[in-house]
Symmetry: C4
Subunit: 271 residues, 4 copies
Amino acid sequence: MSGQFRSECRRIIFQSSHWDEKLFDVALILSIVVSVIVVMLESVPGINGDVRRWLYALEWFITGMFTVEYALRLYVSEKPLKYAHSFFGVVDLLAILPAYIDLLVPGAHYLMLLRVLRVLRIFRVLKLAKYIGEANILMRAMRASARKIAVFIFAVITLVLILGSLMYLIEGAEHGFTSIPKSVYWAIVTLTTVGYGDISPQTPLGQFVASLIMITGYGIIAVPTAIVTSEMTRPSEASTSSPDRICPACGWENHDPDATYCKVCGDKLVK
Amino acid sequence: MSGQFRSECRRIIFQSSHWDEKLFDVALILSIVVSVIVVMLESVPGINGDVRRWLYALEWFITGMFTVEYALRLYVSEKPLKYAHSFFGVVDLLAILPAYIDLLVPGAHYLMLLRVLRVLRIFRVLKLAKYIGEANILMRAMRASARKIAVFIFAVITLVLILGSLMYLIEGAEHGFTSIPKSVYWAIVTLTTVGYGDISPQTPLGQFVASLIMITGYGIIAVPTAIVTSEMTRPSEASTSSPDRICPACGWENHDPDATYCKVCGDKLVK
Amino acid sequence: MSGQFRSECRRIIFQSSHWDEKLFDVALILSIVVSVIVVMLESVPGINGDVRRWLYALEWFITGMFTVEYALRLYVSEKPLKYAHSFFGVVDLLAILPAYIDLLVPGAHYLMLLRVLRVLRIFRVLKLAKYIGEANILMRAMRASARKIAVFIFAVITLVLILGSLMYLIEGAEHGFTSIPKSVYWAIVTLTTVGYGDISPQTPLGQFVASLIMITGYGIIAVPTAIVTSEMTRPSEASTSSPDRICPACGWENHDPDATYCKVCGDKLVK
Amino acid sequence: MSGQFRSECRRIIFQSSHWDEKLFDVALILSIVVSVIVVMLESVPGINGDVRRWLYALEWFITGMFTVEYALRLYVSEKPLKYAHSFFGVVDLLAILPAYIDLLVPGAHYLMLLRVLRVLRIFRVLKLAKYIGEANILMRAMRASARKIAVFIFAVITLVLILGSLMYLIEGAEHGFTSIPKSVYWAIVTLTTVGYGDISPQTPLGQFVASLIMITGYGIIAVPTAIVTSEMTRPSEASTSSPDRICPACGWENHDPDATYCKVCGDKLVK
């Protein structure tokens, strides 16, 4: 009887085909979105009085719901400790703990921000749904080009170090380039074409070097794009992921088609 | 006789092969462009006296022309109500209504801005002309990659939420990061390499995290580009659109080659 | 005798294989670069005294050389009037005229800036050299995708008009959005990720809409890239240009391989 | 005996398969990274007292290590003079010389910045390791598209010269466009979408031209991306580099598979 209830819960939490499984997913996404909005609004200085009271109530309502969800996830896991140690287990705990700590230690309210991390859960929910194929293609392309991108980023950092040091010598502290780290920061702001303007070169030579950096940055943005594009246009091997298999202990879902055991926690897979 | 005049009007409005049909298209585009310029100039504080009187006269001249055009479109439609309820029907009405309302309620002049929406009509006129093929290729590539782009944008939003919250903690209100929503806004400004500079990190740690955000933004701009490029370089299926068929009731023109009835309003198609 | 001198001159000016032909090209490029630098330096307020006298002397030296070159080009052309009316003929004249006008009318010095246009001549010199193939590939890709890019730019302008008007309503004159043209200018600054920061949204709603514009701009930069890339990766047809044939009358050099007469001025081609 | 020690040293310095060879590489990378951080921190004005003393000690410790390494490299080279004249030989010397010069001439401390150049050494170390293939692909794509990119950059410079001069006439000195070089600098800042905002157009006409520059810059960023992408998606020829062969005299490592002598210094290759 209890076992049946538990397997029912597990089905609702980990799958997404029937209406009740979908309802759980939608409710989960909604509550995460609302909780993020509440955390964000609470930081706005202008909000006071009634609105703030409402936010406070909502915060505790969501905390309650997240606590129930956390307890349920512990309950339905075959190895609760594994779930508790997994990445999402820790995130789920961090989402509820600060509210309780805040009752004891008043200054701990800032930790509430950790709740934002729960947004990552939405990825997992969506992964189960129809977006899994697209996300997999993107991830595979990113992973395949990771080394090339690493080489590129290292080259960018080298460039930025050398150019930042150069600009520190050219412009000096009186024009805002007070130290090499700050000059390097400026070089990154310029090379990536962000261009805040809080620091900007004043001397003709500095502006000339800055122009070279800008044109370089404008040109080498082509490199990561070319890397990822060439990876994505490559004829892809037959996609063989089976998104429906989820480990009942830790919740990992990227199992190879021939896997019988979860490669993260070693538990036996259901299907 | 009246039926002949009506079918003549319909031909001139909905087609674009003969010289009179083309003349109507050109006049329509011109009057829309002029009306947009008039609306824009009227908002400039420095324009006064004679120029403003001229603009006022032009505005009413265009309002008159648009009113005639709206009446004609109602007249030539086989189901006028369908046209009136369609997207462009509403836009056409919104382009003339504010001028008349302004006579009764003086403060309604701001609604004149709705006239800008009529720019969208130009797309439809061009669609009938030679640009339709190009626009279709672009639209098809966009639609085919819509899901991948949705996943990407969601990932960007998540990143921006987490990084914005982090910067709120690092920099705090005294450096302009007065609330989490504002910090998230800053993170978007930075990640998309816009970089206004109205808010910028002041602490060394904040500048370090900002540098990471910039390099990330510089790198992941590759992803949407790769998505759309890989979609556009893909060998395209034979294009089978027939741009010349327009629904006489609602004006929809993206009919499948085998369609006999308009899929938007259900009306029978002419050809 | 005179005819031989003239054909020698023509060879040196229009070809680039022998050492004397190459020397002419290099001298031409150098003198153009120097003239541009002189024009730029003369506008710098800090430069005075001896340096300015040197610049003045250099300016007249280059004016003299350009005058001789212009006279020679007129002399070697079989139809001098055609050359004088061609684009580069006008540019060459505009490069020397302001200096002489300045002697009569003192305020005409600003026209000296027209000399910058002579930079375009460098393209023609390079075109004759080894860069012609590369430039042709780039130009062909640009021309092939011109229509798609036109549709894209029109879509961007529409977007910017609507968003600019919207921001004018949201932010209003007190936050720098003093008129719709200015708001549209701001929308362009934001959408293209330039982000000066001279105008930036202050209200929460304005910042929210601005965030949407930024993410849109960040995303749709993919479109022109995808257009040009898909054009350039397309297997190119056999390149059949013959860069060595130049019209002796007007100097046009993009002749089809089977052309016997210049398609710009109708003159007979040499080879 | 001495010869054996020398060949041992050479093996440890130039190869990276055994644990001691890898240890040397890791120690080299670490010491370079630490030295760069020390040079950067020494420029920060806020750091004083004990921390500065520690940095001073670290600096001399690293100087000592680099000196030993330089001596070893001279010792193991078969032609030490060739190494001393090679690019990395000069960089290695520049990394240690400033510290000693500083003892004699107190003002020479700024030369310490040259140590940043040693970051380039990391590339060589990584080149020997697993990243060589990726870096080679990137380099080959860059080299293959170098000419196209040169044409593109020249076109950008021409555009920027003409637009910068134009804006100097339109805006003038009172709006920050004090000279043509400064206007050209502004045009580069705008075209590359950096957008500092230290100079920004104030007149309506100037803002209109600026909008055109921005949209142009937004569009032509597609060109370098398309160039590099089309180069990288091209089916690559079989990679035939043999990364393990390093010239014992000058340390060059890009030898063709059939090379028997180093093409940089003419020395016989080991394997």
